[in-house]
């Protein structure tokens, strides 16, 4: 497992540019703890500070690459985790990407056009499917969440984004500048790839 300091540096690989509060929101740590970690990491050259936000440096990435194999040794050797990742990549991950596309585009008279969110039934169907996939993901990733509590936290944050989208805040499905389903999903994906030492498939 990562210690609190390592976890703080790691959180910057999930969110490219973040304030201490935003990073604490990802990991569930105390803001004060994150701030202390960031200060230490800046001094060590692992992290750069830029107007209240932080960025990881190439040295920081290298540092983490040295830590992961030890920190996640047990998890990486677990065949159930490997099977779960396989199921995630080939199943729910593809479903979420396809549903996000269905959310953003809609078929009118045979042509796919931008979804203007004028059809509430259509939107509700997509959000509903996303909700079912999210629930299924919790089952698929069980071997990982048993070993790492952050995985459940990501799923909770995806649920929060879904609830906001359901209330009409449509950019909480795929918006880039908010913690949308898609944004948090990608953070979670990056996190579990790092846990398991896998490459992102394209």
């Amino acid at each position: 497992m990562l210690d609190p300091y390592e976890l703080t540096v790691h959180s910057l690989t999930l969110r490219q540019l973040g304030t201490a509060e935003q990073l604490a929101d990802i990991t569930g740590q105390d803001v004060a703890e994150v701030e202390a970690g960031l200060e230490k990491a800046v001094a060590a050259g692992l992290v750069m500070a830029a107007r209240g936000s932080y960025l990881i440096t190439p040295a920081g990435r290298e540092h983490l690459d040295g830590i992961y194999p030890r920190a996640f040794e047990g998890l990486r050797a677990d065949p159930q985790v490997a099977a779960a990742m396989e199921a995630f990549e080939t199943g729910v991950n593809k479903q979420v990407l396809a549903l996000t596309t269905d959310w953003q585009t809609i078929e009118v008279d045979g042509a796919r056009v931008t979804n203007d969110h004028g059809d509430a039934d259509y939107d509700a169907t997509i959000i509903d499917k996303l909700g079912r996939v999210q629930e299924k993901t919790a089952k698929v990733l069980r071997p990982l969440s048993d070993a790492d509590p952050l995985v459940d936290r990501f799923l909770d944050r995806i649920g929060t984004a879904l609830t906001r989208a359901e209330g009409g805040e449509t950019d909480y499905v795929s918006g880039v500048r908010v913690d949308s389903v898609h944004t948090v999903w990608f953070q979670m994906h990056e996190h579990i790839l790092r846990l398991t030492g896998r490459e992102r498939p394209e």
Binding site: Q16, L17, T101, V113, D116, E135, T170, F186, E202
Partner: protein, 576 residues
């Protein structure tokens, strides 16, 4: 309660009954009653009330007597249609759908074709003379039941037959679809009830302050068959043209077809004129119904209908999907027809739709003779010209450039925000690059093939993301001017009157905050306290407009005023 029966848990929506309470029967059943009371023919149905739902949660089981009443309700439908539920001759199939007074997410979708099993499939095959159709009905029902009642999340739609669907369900949830139609029905009703207290429905209600115990009704309605004989068929009708919004009926008819056939694209339907020739009486009845529903619904309607042995049934009427152009046309027309007032018309057009209309295009003829450098899949439409860079850092350093990558990941998002267009070598319409570009409304072409990064980097190119092409050099573009389009102009006038914020091309009120000059990151820039005017591309997006309103900004500077005004009005409506 109806005169027909003394039901405790059911309501049968007859045309002559008084208006049922939406709280008791739910919105869907209410609209069913509405169609009936307008004199339109809809397939017979009954509703299990929200009271039964409340009782279900008290006992943690279907309330006493409901099972018998379900039988009575079905008998009522059987009598009207001369069919038998679970029967081996002229079988009756039903749809089961949820319906609460307030529409809520997380509630169960519709189950179609309930009442099917091996024997019923055989009976359907004999009756329709089409074993393939009967097998398809059975396969589809099994999928609906597996997904909605048993909670299977596997993709069941693409499986070839009932056996394959059953196997996938067994594999995923370890349960089987019951063969007994009555058991199917009871389980479906209970599943609808339970869905009103799913984790997500509860979270939604808590978040939006909707009473926690708000239950749902269950509508059970006869399926009708358009594939029985030559005098049967199915179709869809738009009361207005969904492409350009013109007030003319527009639709398709499929003789000997079933509802899903039209949508599935398995067969090519005929224009409505075919129905007019073959069945002038049915055609006339349909057009009269369409007119009525357009007027009653106060919006363009998308109507599903089935003709069964020469008799017209209306299955559904709902606001029609439409292109951006049609949405604008219809909203303005409805004001001119005296149906809507201008404030209401503004709720019918979204900021996204107007943004779509204002998107520049390659000028006619401009692409002729231009050198085509790359070609791929259009992931987010639009046109942009710029110098090609191959890293997100370079894109940040040169705003307005074209970012070309092998593929993108969250590591590239800050560069994608700064870029005027995004091009990738790998990936399709669901790739990260596609999804993020659409969210940013940035033109994007994906899947241009290996070597694209090397070919393009350093050149000035024009990306025609609508056509999925990348040309050398700068091509002329043309755009709709919102000031020269009469419909957009009228909407803009109305929007100005209704908007909580002013949108202008120029004329700032000090102090001004420039979003483009702030750090380009994945977050919205923080607007300094006391800011009166904001400028910059980020404040023309829906989340930018929202942030500006929340910060108490008075003026948003933008070249296109209408999308900003509409986003502001929508946000205002949601928060007040």
């Amino acid at each position: 309660m109806t005169a027909t029966t003394g039901f405790r848990w059911l309501v049968v929506p007859e045309a002559d009954m008084p208006e049922p309470s939406r709280e008791l029967v739910g919105g869907k059943a209410w609209s069913l009653w509405r169609m009936r009371s307008l004199g339109l023919r809809v397939p017979p149905a009954f509703v299990v009330t929200t009271k039964a739902c409340a009782a279900y949660f008290e006992d943690d089981d279907l309330p006493e007597g409901l099972s018998d009443e379900l039988t009575a309700g079905i008998r009522h439908i059987e009598d009207q249609l001369g069919r038998t539920f679970g029967g081996t001759e002229r079988p009756l199939l039903v749809s089961v759908r949820s319906g609460a007074a307030i529409s809520m997410p997380g509630m169960m979708d519709t189950i179609l074709d309930l009442g099917c099993n091996d024997k019923v499939e055989g009976a359907l095959a004999a009756e329709s003379g089409d074993p393939e159709f009967a097998a398809e009905v059975h396969r589809r029902f099994t999928g609906f039941y597996g997904r909605l009642v048993l909670g299977c999340t596997e993709d069941l739609e693409d499986l070839p037959d009932t056996a394959a669907v059953r196997a996938a369900i067994a594999e995923d949830v370890g349960e089987a679809v019951p063969a007994d139609p009555w058991e199917q029905l009871r389980a479906a009703v209970a599943a609808v009830f339970r869905s009103s207290r799913s984790r997500r429905a509860m979270a939604y209600r808590k978040h939006y302050g909707i009473p926690e115990d708000l239950g749902t009704g269950v509508t059970i309605q006869a399926m009708v068959f358009g594939n029985l004989d030559d005098d049967s068929g199915t179709g869809v009708l738009f009361t207005r043209n969904p492409v350009d919004g013109t007030r003319e009926p527009y639709g398709e008819y499929l003789p000997r077809g079933q509802g899903e056939d039209v949508v599935s694209g398995r067969v090519t339907p005929k224009p409505l004129a075919h129905l007019a020739q073959r069945w002038p009486r049915v055609h006339a009845e349909l057009l009269a119904a369409a007119d009525c529903l357009d007027r009653e619904g106060r919006d363009a309607q998308d109507i599903e209908f089935t003709v069964q042995r020469g008799e017209l049934f209306l299955l559904q009427s709902r606001p029609a999907k439409r292109t951006a152009r049609a949405a604008v046309r219809i909203a303005v027309d409805l004001v001119d027809e005296g149906v809507l007032d201008p404030a209401e018309a503004l709720t019918r057009v979204t900021a996204e739709q107007v943004r779509t209309l204002l998107r520049p295009e390659i000028a006619p003829g401009a692409a002729e003779g231009a050198e085509l450098l790359a070609e791929g899949v259009s992931a987010s439409p639009g046109v942009a010209t710029g110098v090609v860079v191959d890293t997100p850092e370079a894109a940040q350093a040169h705003p307005g450039c074209v970012l070309v990558r092998k593929s993108t990941s969250p590591d590239d998002v800050h560069g994608m925000i700064a870029a005027a267009a995004v091009v990738t070598e790998q990936g399709g319409a669901t790739s990260h690059a596609a999804v993020v570009s659409r969210a940013l409304d940035t033109p994007c072409v994906v899947g241009c093939g290996a070597g694209t990064v090397d070919t393009l980097t350093g050149r000035t190119v024009t990306v025609d993301a609508t056509a999925g092409r990348v040309y050398a050099g700068e091509l002329a573009t043309s755009a709709v001017d919102e000031r020269e389009d009469a419909d957009l102009q009228r909407l803009t006038e109305w929007a100005e009157a209704a908007s909580p914020v002013r949108a202008r091309a120029d004329g700032a009120v000090e102090p001004v905050f420039d979003g483009d000059a702030a750090d380009v990151g994945e977050e919205l820039p923080a607007i300094p306290l006391g800011t009166k005017t904001v400028r910059g591309a980020v404040f023309c997006t829906p989340d930018g407009v929202r942030a500006a309103l929340d910060a108490g900004v008075e003026v948003i500077l933008t070249p296109h005023r209408l999308p900003v005004l509409l986003a502001a009005i929508a946000h205002d409506r949601r928060t007040s």
